[in-house]
Subunit: 515 residues, 2 copies
């Protein structure tokens, strides 16, 4: 077999089942190899940011990597922003980046670039294939690297001649090491701190927000009265009625600092101490209260469930957790859409086992709060702040979990970055309901402009934050890519449209107007 076939066979043997792809000429051998590999699904996207964002969503839900297929340095460049988000989510992802044949590189043909250089800033592991026979080894190593707990971004540069040269063979998968465990001393320190403290909190992130870890955290809360708080932008929270609930740290630094200012003891599991998302003149970056005792129970790269369970046991905690969410959501107020009645509708209708891709920005904040008592679901946030994640993430979730409904809460401005995701939803008939929150504005920037000290912005500055000239018509955009859409302006209209979309299978778009 040629190198491409050996690579794809190896990845398949490792357990890679999906390749999100936007290939070009230099990846044609890889396309052919995927073509011949039963058991590896190929999902085409019309832009690389969709490819990498989908791989992120897939990784968050499947807890194993999908492959991406990208076209040289520029194609990888187009995927960097969502690789940044995936890296911040600690998602497992394997990028296969085609490059010129090794002997062609020195001719400096127009598409020549430093593909590895493009990869490095957003990858945890970069491996350039050395030969057709080395290529499958690179793939096996990338698979292990991608599974570095809980997940890493592994990028393999695939020169075209290594892909097409015959004489390669698949190599055996390498076993990934188990999840690192938190040191026992950390458990003991956390237990002692919780006993000594008067106002205590567990600050949870990453894998600590999965159901089992939350159950253990709830037991700790039952034993100690500790408050359960989660990071602002979590990769995946398992929540809803019957699960242990957590409160989310607010986004703006001063509100976040206020939120945790009274705790004398904070135990961290799956998260580092929170910092301000951006810096602002005269405002602190570090948010934890001065003098508080901060204990790292489990870093984001250590198994938090085992650590939390050990902590609960060390505290003699009861078997039943505290803070289990009870069923129920706020009533829906009729009338023109606002953040509250939007949230009430979404919370009420969210179906069992839904997956929420949340890039709702300023308008969607209440959705998270109101859905604490919704049916059980997974909530996936914008982890790295690089906007344009939400729709691609929804694609990946739907591919990973074909039997679950995906709901994308998508702000208009950020949705435009990777709007091409709608086409892949239509092509693959993915069960995604997208709710576009249309306020014709980069609303967050209107706030931020003032927060960084610009007191009297002029018309040119304000125009840079304004999307109303012309207004986007998302129903038309969706139609252009084959997704049925409808525009709503009231909570009643949203209720009906969302009910209908959730009852059906396949992609739908609802444009919720806030103007």
């Amino acid at each position: 077999m040629n190198g491409a076939e050996a690579l794809i066979q190896t990845l398949h043997d490792c357990g890679v089942e999906v390749c999100f792809a936007n290939p070009g000429t230099s990846e044609m051998q890889l396309v052919a190899a995927i073509d011949g590999q039963h058991g590896m699904r190929a999902v085409l996207a019309l832009f690389e940011g969709v490819v990498t964002g989908a791989a992120d969503g897939y990784g968050r839900m499947a807890d194993k990597p999908a492959a991406t297929l990208l076209h040289l340095g520029p194609g990888l460049g187009n995927g960097l922003a969502n690789l940044h988000n995936a890296r911040r989510a600690m998602s497992p992802v394997i990028n296969l980046v085609g490059d010129h044949a090794t002997y062609h590189l020195h001719y400096d043909a127009p598409l020549t670039s430093d593909a590895a250089g493009v990869a490095r800033p957003m990858s945890d592991f970069v491996r350039i294939s050395k030969s057709n026979r080395d290529l499958p080894h690179a793939g096996a190593e990338a698979f292990v690297a991608a599974q570095g707990y809980p997940g890493r971004i592994a990028t393999v540069i695939v020169p075209a001649d290594h892909a097409w040269d015959e004489g390669a063979g698949a190599v055996a998968p390498i076993a990934a090491p188990p999840a690192p465990q938190a040191p026992e001393a950390a458990v003991a320190e956390a237990a002692a701190a919780l006993k000594a403290g008067t106002r205590t909190a567990l600050f949870l992130g990453g894998r600590a927000l999965r159901e089992g870890a939350l159950h253990a955290a709830g037991r700790v809360a039952a034993a100690t009265g500790a408050k359960l708080i989660c990071e602002t932008f979590a990769a995946r929270i398992q929540r809803g009625a019957g699960r242990v609930a957590v409160e989310r740290l607010p986004y703006f630094g001063e509100m976040a600092a206020e939120f945790i200012k009274d705790y004398d003891t904070i135990i961290f599991a799956g998260a580092e101490p929170p910092v301000s998302f951006f810096a602002y003149p005269g405002k602190p970056s570090w948010l934890s209260p001065d003098g508080a005792r901060l204990v790292r129970l489990a870093t984001p790269r250590e198994d938090p469930q085992a650590a939390l369970a050990a902590l609960a046991d060390a505290l003699g905690a009861p078997a039943e957790p505290a803070g289990v969410a009870t069923p129920g959501t706020p009533p829906v107020e009729p009338g023109p859409l606002n953040p509250a009645n939007l949230a009430a509708v979404v919370a009420k209708l969210l179906p069992e086992n839904a997956i929420v891709s949340d890039e709702s920005a300023t308008l969607g904040g209440a959705c998270f709060m109101f859905s604490a008592g919704s049916k059980r679901h997974d909530w996936l946030a914008l982890t790295g702040g690089a906007i344009g994640q939400g729709l691609p993430l929804a694609v990946g979730c739907a591919v990973a979990c074909p039997d679950r409904k995906v709901v994308a809460l998508q702000a208009d401005g950020s949705g435009m970055y990777t709007v091409q995701a709608l086409w892949t939803m239509a092509r693959e008939k993915l069960d995604v309901t997208t709710i576009i929150l249309n306020n014709s504005s980069y609303a967050i920037l209107n706030i931020e402009l003032r927060r960084v000290g610009v007191a009297n912005p002029g018309p040119k500055a304000l125009s840079m934050l304004d999307l109303s000239n012309p207004s986007l018509d998302w129903v038309a955009l969706a139609k252009g890519m084959g997704v049925p859409g409808v525009r709503v302006t009231t909570s009643e209209g949203l209720y009906d449209a969302l009910s209908e979309a959730l009852a059906a299978k396949g992609p739908r778009l609802i444009e919720a107007m806030f103007v």
Copy 2:
């Protein structure tokens, strides 16, 4: 003034008049500074690939840099592909990339990344500001770097605190050095080679394709009978009736090699000897005929017009050039659209002084050929092969040349990468007529798949090259972004729609169906 104000004032004093922008929180001070800077236009785009592609188009037409405004490493990442194209076009571009405040970086907040690392693969010059007072110096240096003949990509990383700290001042512009001249020995060698050769050619690229250089090349042709050939993907060719015409080297390597195989002498001005765009198994990368005498008269970074004029004089060439294109275009055949009648309509209707942004791929090849005798125009190609250039480039051309009609010949697959450009066209009321060539396919890849040796592609491989499921509806996409559109299926329909669009001012989209 603060650092941002000092930077923007400095760039303005250097002559920068336009900033293509997609800002975020860390760039709010720069937005405010641009707001206060009369004489600097701010053009918002909804995606960074539009920003950088527009700066490329502006640079090609204005021969001076626009600024871009980008949001940290991920925002720059989204702009890399078109920076790659701009770099290959040798366009002058200044990127201003906001970054976290220096003191905030070590907290590793979610958007933290190695912005300079992201910049380097696609920049000729990367400068990280050292302080608020250093920031304007960085800007002045970037302006000089961007003007490194004929143009370079200069990137300045702007930490937020350097932007907002008070106590900075604008600095004086630095004079850019003049264009380097080709050595006299090269002129003498070229003259001797042309006299000695029997079948000779001038191979022209870059600035050698401007009117003055072409005139000189035409004089050389008049004196020697040398054929005039241009690179396949040129940044900007000044052409049409009354100008010296050049024939374009074919795209596929074997056709290109065939095209030049009989020349015993090839003189290069503004271009390096051509190489195959991609490598293919068993096919050569180097295209020049074995044993031919290859003379580099002027490299792409030396003034080709002066060198060609000196060469013409050294040969005692007549004042009048050979090979001047005569007016006239092929007749338009009626009926369903095909590459020939598309080209005939475009060639016939192209208005005086039009600017053509050509990302027409497989369908548009004839457009270039048929328009040799059209009214005078500029023709801008996809220089770096990173698709998604065409629509952003048209934006930049229209901003640089508000009194000229811009025609974007845009293939469907590549158009989708940066489809957001349509919104900026609508917002700025840019005089761009976009013709989408819709064949519902990555048609080039259907050819390339076989060329790299995949003899019998299966359905999964073919589906990766197919855009028909679902078909894109570009009229709906354009409507979604505020651009009036119409779909045509015949040459008569195209003729009418294009006539109407060219007679009007402002953005229009024509979806030309080839299926």
